[in-house]
């Protein structure tokens, strides 16, 4: 009875969290961008600036994460890192299985989609951090390092799953993934942040740390217009896929959250890990998949990642993972 009662209050709490999460500059800017597209406004962030904001965000995430690593004893990092790597291998497999079995996708499309769900969406990661802060939850600073770890394996597993189906060598595909600008900047930032430590990074905080959230708003404004375009393409993906695009993040997200709690992370940190695991990449993965798996249909994987799963996580997923973390941490 206590359990059910808790569950009920939990449910209502999730709605509150969801609403509190919704009414934030970050989420509302995303919504505003989507509206811009829907009302056919001519708003458009110039390409050069949109790309530069990406560069800024990834480098800044890296720097912040690096500082956190420099403060964390290595043995505290090992377990979360291993679990993150494991999740980066498991989740593309489960996504592949689901997409083949229930989604009716061919092998290449399923593998391409799996690569996206195995990797991570940097913006979902950031949104989950904002949500955790808003909810007053503490979290481990090294989560950004986990994000970097989570980006790569999923993509590689996805490409391996598609193999045989023609396409180039795996080696050159992996080189492309690792030197691709998004992962390169993230890892570069992590290394610089770790090497410099908190004191020296402090000097660049007024650029890389303090205005970060505002820059994220501007980025999401543009991402909203892009996501809204993807939502229009949903017919191509079909209803079955759209439902799976909401179900997979729930499963993966809860899995990630539970794993985080299990290895002793704080509820906030576990929820953030859950959001990462539940998210689907739409920056690093699409570029890699497009080159390595040209026959896969971007109309499927991009629409799922950016048109379905990203908004789902932003609005419902993240509060759900936070609530899950809270409940699990009390067990």
């Amino acid at each position: 009875m206590l359990c059910r009662c808790q569950k009920q209050s939990g449910t209502s709490h999730i709605m509150e969290l969801a609403i509190q999460n919704l009414i934030s500059p970050v989420v509302l800017c995303f919504v505003l961008g989507a509206i811009a597209r829907w009302v056919k406004s001519d708003f458009k962030l110039p390409d050069a600036v949109y790309q530069s904001l990406s560069i800024y965000l990834l480098l800044a995430i890296g720097l912040k994460g690096g500082v956190a690593i420099s403060k964390t004893p290595i043995n505290e990092l090992i377990l979360p890192a291993l679990v993150t790597l494991a999740l980066g291998i498991i989740t593309p497999l489960s996504a592949f299985f689901v997409m083949r079995k229930f989604g009716g996708l061919n092998k290449t499309d399923a593998a391409a989609t799996a690569a996206h769900y195995g990797s991570v969406s940097a913006v979902t990661f950031l949104a989950s951090i904002e949500a955790a802060k808003l909810a007053g939850l503490e979290f481990e600073g090294y989560v950004a390092a986990l994000m970097a770890l989570l980006e790569i394996p999923g993509i590689i597993v996805g490409l391996i799953l598609a193999r045989g189906k023609g396409s180039g060598s795996l080696g050159s595909a992996i080189h492309d993934v690792v030197t691709g600008k998004s992962i390169f900047l993230l890892i570069g930032g992590l290394v610089i942040g770790t090497a410099c430590g908190a004191d020296k990074i402090d000097g660049v905080a007024p650029f890389f740390i303090d205005p970060f959230k505002g820059v994220l708003c501007l980025f999401l404004l543009e991402l909203g217009t892009v996501a809204a375009s993807r939502m229009r393409d949903m017919k191509q993906a079909g209803w079955k896929l759209i439902i799976l695009g909401s179900a997979i993040p729930v499963v993966h997200g809860i899995l990630g959250t539970a794993a985080g709690i299990l290895v002793g992370m704080s509820p906030g940190g576990a929820a953030i890990l859950g959001a990462m695991v539940g998210s689907a990449s739409y920056i690093a993965a699409p570029a890699a998949v497009r080159i390595a798996l040209p026959e896969a249909s971007p109309g499927i994987y991009l629409t799922l990642a950016l048109g379905v799963t990203f908004p789902f996580n932003l609005i419902l997923g993240i509060p759900l993972y936070m609530k899950t973390a809270e409940i699990l941490s009390q067990l």
């Binding site: 390409d47 949109y50 600008k181 892009v226 739409y282 497009r290 040209p294 026959e295 971007p298 991009l302």
Partner: protein, 99 residues
């Protein structure tokens, strides 16, 4: 003083940049010009907005090289990627720059 050559133009999603430039070099082009652009065609979706929009690659070449480039590019990319390719006559100053 003016020599008749061809200008080959390829408009493609920007991810293909390196690959197309490799083809140009392999087929004997001595130079190229790249312009950023946007567009729409039969393939609606592009791989990644983070990677930038389309690119237009122009290269001034002899008629034979032009044929080779068009064939190589379309064989390698036309099926799966957003790409168009065409060429037209141009009269060029200082042909030695293009050999």
């Amino acid at each position: 003083m003016l020599i008749q050559l061809k200008k080959v133009t390829i408009v493609a999603e920007s991810l293909l940049k390196e690959g197309i430039l490799e083809i140009l070099k392999a087929q004997g082009s001595t130079g190229y010009t790249i312009t950023a652009c946007e567009g729409e065609g039969s393939k609606g979706i592009h791989a990644s907005d983070f990677e930038g929009r389309n690119i237009q690659i122009d290269t001034i070449v002899s008629s034979e090289v032009g044929q080779l480039v068009l064939t190589a590019v379309s064989e390698r990319y036309m099926k799966n990627y957003a790409l168009i390719a065409y060429m037209n006559d141009v009269e060029v100053v200082r042909e030695d720059k293009f050999k």
